[in-house]
């Protein structure tokens, strides 16, 4: 049913339809509305049988999910940023144990400096953990992806995180066509574990594995993620047959067929990008957009096919590897064997800085003239940076950079820069 609803609420209601049996979470902006909504449903009995545990930390949250999942229960949690890092040990543990936990990651920047706004640095921090990572472009997709996520996770025995841009999507009120219980029940069969703590058939789970077998265990995990490369589009296709909606899948190309330049990105910026690309197309430019929905496993083949005829690829990313450069760009580069293709990285939206259509159109403008640098930081205040660098050069004890910059910009109220 189509409803005008806050993204978080849509996610919560969809997760509830998936009949989780144990939900455990620790509050952190911007995920709070999701778990509050699920908690309320459990408390008033509309989501049952389900145990909602108010844990004392994110580390506890993922640990509770691990215990629950290993006992054969469908387990769900949600977090962001610092919380994800606090549970990192358990995140790797869950993947290593092959537990099909589903987690919403309300993407948020990682401090210091502390920042509660959206970027993708949290998801990037765990990209090697063995979790499947799916990025939602809109609240509709965010909601739909959770159903697909449980299905995928339980089929493969691999945990799945659904990445949803914090605030931008979680706190936006938009039209979302919510699924109903009968659909979800048909799409998502009851959880049948591969391994389970059961007094009727006791097993020991969590052994130490030494050099003699560790590589094989890791390789098997890799193969399972590669299996996901087939299952993800298959599940998305099944979803499309049933709903008519394109949610999920590996990549989502938009006007890329004859594109000379293709912009690659993940998450909510894709919507703004499509508007920008349409505007450029109206000017006669051959540009397109490639959304990457499945970041892990990385769909190298699908990416390569989509970018095969592009002369220039511009990757817009909301994270970067300090001291190195782009993160998504690297995966793209390897996929496309970029000797023949011009590959440009634009880092944008860090710490929640708005990515405006105007800025994107400027990027496209520069790209069309082949004037984009290899690595650009969008809307960077060069002067502020230079002033701080000069300050650091002049005095050894020049003070904390972040505070100096804030004072420089005299930020008093949230200014929307035109």
């Amino acid at each position: 049913m189509l409803r005008q609803i806050e993204g978080s609420k849509a996610i919560a209601e969809t997760v509830a339809l998936c009949r989780p049996e144990v939900v455990c979470a620790y509050p952190i902006s911007p995920q709070t509305h999701i778990i509050e909504a699920v908690g309320a449903m459990v408390k008033e009995g509309t989501l049952a049988p389900c145990e909602f545990i108010n844990v004392e930390s994110e580390f506890a949250a993922m640990s509770v999910a691990i215990g629950a999942s290993a006992t054969g229960a469908r387990a769900y949690t949600a977090t962001a940023s610092q919380g994800l890092l606090f549970m990192m040990e358990a995140v790797y543990n869950a993947a290593g144990l092959g537990l099909p936990i589903v987690m919403t990651l309300a993407n948020r920047a990682i401090g210091a400096p502390i920042n509660i706004w959206n970027d993708h640095s949290d998801a990037m921090a765990v990209r090697d953990s063995g979790w499947i990572q799916l990025f939602a472009e809109s609240n509709q997709e965010a909601s739909d992806l959770h159903v697909q996520a449980f299905r995928l996770a339980e089929e493969l025995s691999v945990p799945v995180m659904v990445c949803v841009d914090g605030f931008i999507l979680t706190h936006a009120v938009e039209g979302v066509d919510l699924l109903d219980q009968s659909f979800v029940d048909a799409f998502l069969p009851p959880y049948e574990p591969r391994q389970m703590l059961d007094t009727e058939a006791p097993v020991s789970i969590g052994a130490m594995v030494g050099p003699e077998a560790f590589e094989e265990v890791r390789y098997l995990a890799h193969l399972r993620q590669l299996d996901a490369l087939e299952r993800i589009p298959a599940i998305a296709s099944e979803f499309f047959e049933a709903t008519g909606r394109e949610s999920g899948g590996l990549v989502r190309p938009y006007r890329t067929d004859d594109a000379d330049t293709v912009i690659v990105a993940m998450g909510s910026v894709l919507g703004t990008l499509k508007d920008a690309v349409d505007a450029r197309r109206d000017l006669g430019e051959r540009v397109g957009v490639l959304g990457v929905t499945s970041f892990r496993p990385f769909p190298s083949e699908a990416v390569r096919d989509a970018l095969a005829s592009a002369r220039q690829v511009v990757v817009i990313e909301k994270a970067f590897s300090i001291g190195a450069g782009g993160v998504l760009s690297n995966d793209i580069a390897i996929a496309i064997h970029h000797e023949q293709t011009l590959l440009r990285t634009v880092v944008a939206g860090l710490g929640g800085r708005a990515i405006t259509r105007r800025s994107l159109e400027k990027v496209l403008e520069e790209a069309s003239r082949d004037e984009l640098a290899t690595l650009t930081f969008l809307d960077l205040d060069r002067d502020a940076v230079d002033r701080e660098r000069a300050r650091m050069q002049a005095t050894r004890r020049s003070g904390p950079s972040a505070e100096n910059l804030l004072r420089d910009r005299a930020t008093v109220a949230p200014k929307v820069r035109a």
Binding site: P30, A172, V173, V416
Partner: protein, 196 residues
């Protein structure tokens, strides 16, 4: 697409206002989107929220850079925050104050704007009268409907009642209607005056 930017302070229901607008538009069968510019929860701090609606699917998620209408819930923000950035010259402005628009010290800033689209409305006073609390957001939505004609009164009324529910919803709806009538009569007054 019609885009609105609402400025106010934390605790005045700025975010709720945008959400109600989006629901009203949704109820009229349009695509709508509402979201705040986010910050840590803090009463009194300047807050901005956005709403856009369109007959086509809305894909973008950028903040409203070029509003068609700006609603100012707290007049103390004037001269402190860049409230009118990106507002086109035929844009609408609705300010919560009992003063007239020309009394607010804008100088020649609005010289090239359409005067019939620049409106003030004593929403706080209306809210105090009908709600007993200085929460002007619902009232301003009524004023917005009258000023722009972009959303019908019925849609606003329904959305306000849906959001607040019960007697609170009733009182907010009354406040919104009072503001709607106020703005509506001001517009008619101006129209009569200009034809005279």
């Amino acid at each position: 697409m019609f885009q609105i930017r609402i400025h106010g302070r934390g605790g005045q229901g700025v975010v709720t206002a945008a959400e109600i607008l989006s629901v009203a538009a949704f109820d009229e069968g349009r695509h709508a989107q509402a979201f705040p510019s986010f910050g840590s929860e803090r009463t009194g701090a300047p807050v901005v929220s956005f709403c856009r609606f369109d007959d086509r699917e809305i894909r973008t998620h950028e903040p409203v850079m070029e509003p068609d209408a700006v609603i100012i819930q707290d007049v103390t923000l004037i001269h402190q925050v860049d409230l009118f950035s990106g507002l086109s010259s035929d844009g609408y402005v609705l300010i919560n104050t009992s003063n007239g628009f020309s009394d607010l010290g804008f100088g020649d800033f609005f010289d090239h704007y359409c005067p019939e689209r620049l409106m003030t409305c004593p929403a706080t006073e209306i809210a105090l009268e009908h709600l007993g609390r200085p929460l002007p957001n619902a009232a301003l939505l009524g004023g917005f409907a009258a000023l722009t004609g972009e959303l019908t009164w019925d849609a606003i009324d329904k959305a306000v009642r849906e959001h607040f529910s019960g007697p609170v919803g009733e009182r907010n709806a009354i406040a919104a209607k009072a503001a709607f009538d106020y703005v509506d009569s001001k517009i008619k007054e101006t129209a009569r005056a200009s034809t005279n």
